[in-house]
Symmetry: C2
Subunit: 195 residues, 2 copies
């Protein structure tokens, strides 16, 4: 049972490699090539197993579409839980950061943060924020707003009729826009990359 598990793992890995290298799933004859099978029907049966495991699935046209291999990140628990043993690791769910962070593909934009006015909320200069341009802003949301001709990122506070933009840094003061407040979008996520 051990060696057949190894073979399966290797095939999942090969399938994933093909998908991420070529940008599409292979045909059955290509599956034969990457699995080193000289008959399509062997590839066909091998794919059937991967399908049952959720690694991939099939169209109504029979074409292969990626399943779990599409999502590159394995989800573990919390920091305290630490890393599981390699055996458990295989059972981990995977997720795509694109799917995780972006609700509305058409309305999503990436903006680079350059000020430190939101550093109290864990948004530092150099971070990237994902902004949803379509979403209607609620009180408490972090918004990208144009007030008096300048663009800023601030907390939005609505109290009845009054609207205030509040920074998350005590060195800055809340802004009470006079006439022209335009809210361009709502910050739905923050992303920071190291190294």
């Amino acid at each position: 049972m051990k060696s057949s598990d190894d073979k399966l793992r290797a095939r999942i890995s090969d399938m994933s490699a093909f998908f991420h290298k070529n940008g599409r799933m292979p045909s059955f004859s290509e599956v034969g090539e990457i699995f080193h099978l000289s008959s399509k029907s062997a590839a066909y049966k091998a794919v059937g197993k991967l399908e049952k495991m959720g690694v991939l699935s099939k169209d109504k046209r029979g074409k292969l579409i990626p399943g779990s291999i599409k999502s590159p990140v394995k989800i573990l628990g919390t920091v305290e839980a630490g890393f599981p043993s390699p055996a458990e690791e295989e059972l981990a769910d995977t997720i795509s950061l694109d799917d995780f962070l972006i609700k509305n593909r058409e309305a999503a934009f990436l903006l680079k943060v350059s000020g430190d006015s939101m550093s109290g909320a864990g948004i530092l200069p150099g971070d990237m924020v994902i902004v949803d341009k379509g979403q209607t802003p609620k009180s408490g949301d972090i918004v990208i707003a144009e007030v008096d001709g300048e663009w800023t990122m601030k907390y939005l506070r609505k109290r009845g009729e009054s609207v205030t933009l509040i920074p998350a840094n005590p060195n800055y003061k809340p802004i009470k826009p006079k006439n022209d407040l335009k809210i361009a979008g709502v910050v739905t996520a923050v992303v920071r990359k190291y190294g």
Copy 2:
């Protein structure tokens, strides 16, 4: 010229919709369907234009693979720059957060942060960190480490022979591991989702 631009935009949008709904790029006859063309050759030529624009590209086997439509997020400038007009917006580059944040697909893991010991570095409880299990940790990196039987996330400081784990919160104290320090991975990115 205006209406032909509109048609192109609509086709790019339709193509993107097909790709994200079906998990693969269409065949030429399917392109004909989604573009409402009753001949494959019309679809073939229409695809040629999209190819020149970088929306998609072709295999050596002629199969379509996604180009810019694969990446869901449009990159804009800084917060101060604000949002461009819809006209410029079309020219924006796009990026996939998966590709942006993950270098090593096999070694990448997602961990949820539950403590506040790194809140000084803008990593708050509830955030998710992307951990690279394969990377060798350098001094100054944020690492996931097991010290004396407990898992934590801390800055790593190496000074000659001595190794210290330093939190980014003054309420916690630096840890000088006695014997058993295991570093499981390096934090390569932080991700926070609102709402």
